[in-house]
């Protein structure tokens, strides 16, 4: 159906936004995927994203995405428009929370203490974040962690978790999102599989890598090694400059950082529980 449809209002990291589109199907997808970001007033002036279908058919990419009337992208594919919107929302949140350190990672809380799981794409962050949420950890974020460098508190950014098929959590996804059975990638709101956590002090940072066939293990890095490694996972470091680096240094100096290789989700969870207790 065409016309003008509004999704939201939403808020993330104290930043309010809504999305307008000319396709009702997309509005419904956004309302579903962004349900944990739903918000009722009080987060300040609202940024308006638009996702507009230009009517073209494949092989052309039909979607334009705008932020407050300014074009972000003009040729977004059908199966990528939701992910692209999420990426633009993340950029907005990063822009508006410049005093925080932004790390490419997931964050989960257990017993009032947070662990940050950092790693490159395909290292298993999202899968592990979803698994831990399903196992009772509180979900803080996936992919985009907001950390206060003065207090080392992790602030929530309840982005939906990006899940891929095939994967070890297919059964869980099928159960909570039966309509997404045909998708190889989908965005799963964390509240569908577990609970959401509020701002939580950081107990530790874990650089993770999925290592099939290898025994799961953890080693602790020196704070200087940690800082050096973490700069690789700070996407806005160049823009944040000296202050950003000093902020990251404060975090690396105030909480332990570990390197964890893991083979299975249950092994990983056990090792992470031990890190929460040790941190």
């Amino acid at each position: 159906m065409t016309g003008r449809f509004s999704a939201g209002p939403f808020a993330a990291g104290g930043v309010a936004f809504s999305v307008e589109t000319n396709r009702q199907e997309l509005q419904q997808l956004i309302e579903g995927a962004f349900r944990d970001l739903r918000h009722v007033g009080g987060a300040g002036p609202e940024t308006v994203f638009e996702a507009l279908h230009n009517g073209s058919r494949p092989p052309f990419n039909p979607w334009a995405v705008l932020r407050d009337g300014v074009v972000c992208e003009l040729t977004v594919a059908d199966d990528y428009v939701l992910s692209h919107l999420l990426w633009e929302v993340t950029r907005l949140v990063f822009d508006r929370t410049a005093s925080r350190v932004h790390l490419h990672g997931a964050a989960l809380a257990l017993r009032g203490r947070a662990l940050l799981l950092v790693g490159p794409t395909h290292s298993g962050k999202s899968t592990l974040a979803a698994w831990l949420t399903h196992q009772g950890w509180g979900f803080l974020t996936d992919e985009a962690a907001l950390v206060d460098p003065l207090t080392s508190v992790v602030h929530p950014f309840w982005r939906p978790i990006g899940m891929r098929r095939p994967g070890p959590l297919e059964a869980i996804i099928d159960q909570v999102m039966p309509a997404a059975r045909h998708l190889t990638e989908c965005l799963v709101p964390a509240s569908l599989i577990g609970s959401l956590a509020t701002a939580t002090p950081l107990a530790g940072i874990v650089l993770i890598s999925l290592s099939p066939g290898e025994q799961s293990h953890v080693i602790r890095l020196s704070p200087a090694q940690a800082l050096s490694e973490l700069t690789l996972h700070y996407p806005g470091l160049v823009e944040a400059g000296r202050e950003g680096f000093l902020g990251l240094g404060r975090i690396a100096g105030s909480v332990p950082t570990y390197q964890m290789r893991f083979d299975g989700l249950a092994d990983a969870e056990q090792l992470l529980r031990e890190r929460v207790d040790a941190g």
Partner: protein, 87 residues
Amino acid sequence: MSLVGPTRCPAVTTVVLEGEAVLYDERTGDVHTLNQTAAVIWNALDGRDLNEVAETVAAAQGAPVDLVRQHVLDLVPALAAAGLVDG
């Protein structure tokens, strides 16, 4: 103190953690890590000549000055090659 030696480049920010130093070069985004001895030498690179750097570091660390001088002579060209020091 004679000010004829290398100095830390102002575009480089240093964070010292448990004696090790991590250097961030704002111009390039490059990050470098120095061990404890190198971190002390780095901190002494304020324009004094390299002999004075070696003597200062040796006194601070209680190490033989000849040994420290060798560390200085190894480290400073590497720092200069990475663009981290001026002069």
